[in-house]
């Protein structure tokens, strides 16, 4: 009975998404197309959530094989275990509000860009993402992974009339295929010779591989999946592609798709390869810490709201990888309880990030929809004009800044607690690595809070800095509802941590290096990391904060004078106040820009125009300052130049002469014959 229900649910999910995709392609009115797109996506997401919840609660995986669908490589094999179910839940939880949001948001595209194509691709994107976590053999995985990449590419290219969108699409396509190549090689190396490509076979064969080969597979998997996740140095596509896509797509890509990179690494390292040496975990911690710092430092100096959010995704993925690395490290050092906590913290942060990053992207989209601009230096004063958006964005900003009692704080606290036992462990080099990781984590947390105070404060507070901001209006109902749902989730995931943590511990139990039965991670409303005495309760904290707030308010109401008058902002008696007197986004980040000038290396360009009569009368000054991201300038630009130079040389082959081409054919044929003869001779 259980199996049939889960099979039905998975069928509903696939059919809902496919139905949504086909319905979107029908030639209907734009309003109906948008509604059908969202309907299919929400139905699919709902089925996905139900399926994931079933597997998580029941605790037993569900498997389905359809060999007839594809005869090569074992056909389509699907299996949902606890790990996959968690990511399926994340997909559903973010997809439903994002799809609802799309109804109102994509109305602006009507007549200019194809709504039908957008709707179809959105549903296909969600379908392929869900199938990636369901895949149980190499072929299914790779097919769905590539389909997901292509669907997201088309979604990124929605606004294809803008030049930076086309460039962003190019970067994205190139990097995702580099990642695919690496993943392909990793799986090929992992597959047993002559055996099937099913994950069960891979798991069994991995134990027999040499440590060197396992190491190579691990590194390839890290690079391949890391490029999808946005791990430094393969993150450069993220700040280009995520802002270029429509906002609900950005929410899905940043919130969910990058987590599938995390899923890939967990599947390969934790599930397929099993316990590895300590350097695996250390490598992930190092890359994670670097990503976290690079992401947040570049997010701080961004003026484009969506690029700021994209860099912040790089940062949070780095934090997740710090947790994953710590978990792998503890597993290899033989401390299963600590490993469970670290991995649970990482998964929790992945979920939380999905929710609050989606919320922030939807908010940024509402702002862009209302004002036509993403440049924070042209925004401001929106808290009165977009009250719902502002309130939801504030919740998202507080959550991502890691402030109690929201969900971001809970997962960061858990990450800190998971790193603590490592500093005390006896293994060499672990303590210094972990100490630096803790320092990086804390610096990231502080800088992230600063970046989001800037993002919220400059965008929503004070006076509007441009006419577009002055004329802004609140988002339509569908967009507002989506944002409120996600904001409520942020609060619930924080307050309900005592419910979420045992589920995470349960789904991790049984994997290599982890205990068979999950250690108790909570006690009533308290979160109890194992092996220490520390504990925390976000729900009780929230109650305490609310009591303190209410108490203060009541005491003031009773005991203090009540007179209130509205006046001008105090400006030392100056006459009048304009938006030019406010702090700008660039100015806000300036102290930190100076502190980290060695990393940013900003360029400055000052042009002064003087009156032709005398050089003492200045007519105008133009100041321009730029930060070129380090990786683009020093790593990718040379690489791209190299490849372009190589391609220019190779182009000589295309001479246009038919004789030359015939000669190539003959030579190639002879070479192939020679190679196959030599190979069959050696067998």
């Amino acid at each position: 009975m259980t199996l049939e229900t889960t099979a039905c649910l998975s069928a509903y999910m696939v059919l809902a998404y496919l139905g949504g995709a086909f319905a979107a392609l029908l030639p209907l009115r734009s309003g109906l197309t948008r509604a059908l797109t969202a309907g299919g996506a929400i139905a699919g997401a709902g089925a996905g959530i139900a399926l994931a919840a079933r597997v998580l609660i029941a605790g037993e995986p569900f498997a389905l094989t359809v060999p007839a669908l594809l005869t090569v490589g074992g056909g389509v094999a699907l299996r949902l275990d606890g790990l996959g179910a968690f990511f399926l839940l994340l997909i559903g939880v973010v997809a439903a509000p994002a799809a609802l949001y799309g109804v109102g948001y994509s109305a602006a595209y009507a007549g200019r860009y194809s709504l039908r194509w957008l709707g179809a691709m959105l549903n296909l994107f969600l379908l392929t993402m869900s199938l990636v976590v369901l895949a149980d053999n190499v072929l299914t995985f790779l097919l769905t992974w590539e389909a997901m990449s292509l669907a997201s590419y088309f979604l990124v290219m929605t606004e294809h009339e803008r030049p930076d969108t086309v460039a962003a699409g190019g970067w994205y396509l190139a990097m995702t295929h580099v990642g695919l190549a690496l993943i392909l090689v990793a799986f090929v190396l992992l597959s047993p010779a002559g055996g099937g490509g099913g994950f069960a076979d891979l798991r069994a064969a991995a134990a027999t591989l040499s440590p060197a080969l396992r190491g190579v597979v691990f590194v390839l998997a890290v690079l391949g999946f890391g490029s999808k996740a946005g791990l430094v140095p393969l993150h450069v596509w993220l700040p280009r592609a995520h802002p270029a896509a429509p906002s609900h797509v950005s929410a899905l890509m940043s919130g969910v798709m990058v987590k599938l990179g995390v899923y890939g690494i967990l599947r390969v390292a934790l599930d397929l390869l099993g316990v590895g040496p300590a350097w695996w975990g250390a490598l992930l911690i190092g890359l994670g810490a670097a990503s976290a710092l690079v992401g947040v430092l570049y997010a701080l100096t961004e003026d484009d709201l969506k690029r700021l959010l994209a860099y912040s995704s790089v940062e949070n993925v780095g934090l997740v990888f710090i947790g994953v690395g710590a978990g792998l490290l503890f597993a290899s050092l033989g401390e299963p309880a600590a490993a469970t906590l670290a991995l649970a913290a990482a998964l929790y942060h992945a979920l939380n990030h999905g929710v609050f990053k989606a919320l922030l992207f939807l908010g940024a989209g509402a702002v862009a929809h209302a004002t036509g601009s993403r440049d924070m230096n042209r925004l401001g004063g929106l808290i009165g004009r977009l009250p719902w958006t502002a309130a939801c964005f504030l919740v998202g900003a507080l959550a991502i800044g890691g402030l109690p009692p929201f969900n971001g704080f809970v997962s960061e606290w858990l990450l800190f607690q998971s790193l603590l036992p490592a500093i005390g462990s006896g293994a060499p080099l672990v303590a210094p690595v972990m100490t630096l990781a803790v320092g990086a984590l804390a610096l990231t947390a502080g800088l992230a809070a600063a970046a989001f105070v800037k993002a919220f404060g400059i965008t929503f507070l004070a006076l509007p800095r441009s006419d577009e901001a002055r004329a802004a209006h609140e988002a339509p109902v569908t967009m507002r509802v989506a944002m409120v749902v996600l904001a409520a989730l942020c609060a619930l995931l924080g307050l309900g941590a005592a419910f979420v943590l045992p589920v995470l511990g349960g789904l991790l139990a049984g994997h290599a290096g982890l205990p068979r039965v999950a250690p108790a991670l909570t006690a009533g409303p308290l979160l109890l990391p194992p092996g220490g005495g520390a504990s925390m309760s976000p729900s009780l904290l929230a109650i305490g904060l609310l009591l303190a707030l209410a108490g203060a308010w009541l005491a003031v109401r009773v005991g203090a004078a009540r007179g209130l008058r509205v006046g001008d902002t105090w400006g030392c008696g100056r006459i009048g106040q304009t938006a030019r007197m406010e702090y700008t986004s660039t100015a806000y980040a300036e102290p930190l820009r100076r502190v980290f000038a060695e990393l940013y290396r900003p360029t400055e360009d000052l042009t002064i125009d003087v009156h032709p009569e005398s050089r003492y009368f200045v007519q105008s000054r133009t100041y321009r300052s730029e930060i070129v991201p380090w990786f683009e300038r020093y790593v990718y630009a040379p690489l791209v130049r190299w490849v372009a130079a190589g391609a220019a040389h190779t182009r000589a082959i295309q001479s246009g002469s038919a004789h030359a081409y015939l000669a190539y054919l003959v030579v190639a044929l002879l070479a192939l014959l020679a190679i196959s003869l030599a190979w069959s001779a050696s067998l």
């Binding site: 401001g380 808290i383 504030l394 507080l398 800044g401 890691g402 402030l403 109690p404 704080f409 606290w413 800190f416 603590l420 500093i423 303590a431 100490t435 320092g439 804390a442 502080g446 800088l447 600063a450 105070v453 404060g457 507070l461 004070a462 006076l463 308290l526 220490g532 005495g533 520390a534 925390m536 904290l541 305490g544 904060l545 303190a548 707030l549 203060a552 308010w553 003031v556 005991g559 203090a560 004078a561 007179g563 008058r565 509205v566 006046g567 001008d568 902002t569 105090w570 400006g571 106040q577 938006a579 007197m581 406010e582 702090y583 100015a587 806000y588 980040a589 102290p591 100076r594 502190v595």
Partner: protein, 313 residues
């Protein structure tokens, strides 16, 4: 039941004591400036006066401006309730540890920074930007100092840290503890806006960090913010006193140990107040862009603290 009674007494004590602590520091500085100065209980008069004044709110400010003082006060009060001022074992000990305390204070800082941006004045923006810079750069030091303490105590739980040093007095003089104390002392100066990071009595807006954000507040809102700032000072002093020199903190909930705890707390607060007052008289304010250098010194101290805690186990 007695546990909760102690919690409530502790909370009331810190709320009541905080303005007095600020007054004591000011009085000491006045005496060091060869003048009589206001009595140490002057801040209570000031708070009473502020609660009786009207409020003027800027026409550009939003609901955030009016909400922020309450959030700042509530979060700082919540952090103050988590500090083990009188007793080692308390019911609230399990609700939050040292990390939670630090992040509650950060919550207050964030809301105050947002409120500085709200009225749209340049001063508020400047104060907000500088405050977030200093807070962000102080975070790694705090985290590492906490970890240095947690290494020897076994966890970040406040009661456990206090209990560990009570049980093993020699640990108080270990290099890890001393270095962590030095690092946290510098962070305290930065977070509470004391010289050499920020002059609490300055009128020069271009040199302000904390003051610049509250230039727009008046009446009861200003009173709440001033009280919260005093509470923050008390929290840091109490942490420096009770975590590193915990003798006096009551291990059992009986009247005599609690009275002793109260006396020792007041003594420790007085000693630290003297040190801070003397320091503030001695040093001049640092240029804003020298503050990150000071904070990196404290970061190195905290790093050394963790290393020596680790080596010394």
């Amino acid at each position: 039941m007695t546990g909760w009674a102690i919690e409530i007494a502790q909370a009331a004590l810190v709320l009541a004591l905080a303005p007095g602590l600020v007054g004591v520091v000011r009085w000491l500085k006045a005496r060091l400036q060869s003048r009589r100065g206001a009595p140490p209980w002057q801040p209570y008069y000031e708070l009473r006066k502020l609660f009786g004044k009207d409020v003027i709110v800027s026409s550009n400010a939003s609901w955030l401006f009016r909400l922020a003082p309450y959030v700042v006060f509530a979060s700082t009060a919540a952090a103050a309730c988590l500090v083990p001022s009188l007793a080692v074992t308390r019911p609230l000990d399990a609700v939050g540890d040292l990390l939670v305390l630090v992040y509650l204070l950060l919550l207050g800082t964030v809301f105050l920074s947002l409120a500085g941006l709200d009225p749209g004045s340049a001063f508020g923006g400047m104060g907000s930007s500088r405050e977030m810079t200093v807070a962000a750069l102080a975070e790694p030091t705090v985290a590492l100092a906490i970890f240095a303490l947690a290494l020897s105590a076994g966890s970040t739980n406040l009661g456990q840290i206090v209990g560990r040093t009570l049980a093993d007095p020699a640990a108080a003089l270990s290099p890890g503890h001393l270095l962590a104390f030095a690092a946290l002392f510098v962070v305290m100066l930065a977070e509470t806006g004391r010289l050499p990071v920020d002059n609490p009595a300055t009128h020069l807006e271009l040199t302000m960090i904390h003051e610049a954000m509250v230039l727009e507040y008046s009446g009861r809102y200003l009173a709440l913010i001033e009280w919260a700032a005093a509470l923050k000072l008390l929290v840091f002093f109490a942490l420096l006193g009770n975590l590193f020199v915990p003798w006096g903190v009551a291990a059992v909930a009986a009247p005599a140990p609690l009275a002793l705890a109260l006396g020792s707390l007041l003594l420790k607060l007085a000693v630290i107040a003297v040190v801070v007052a003397v320091l503030e008289t001695r040093v001049a304010k640092l240029r804003l862009f020298r503050v990150p250098e000071l904070l990196s010194v404290s970061f190195v101290l905290a790093l050394l603290a963790v290393t020596s805690s680790f080596l010394g186990r």
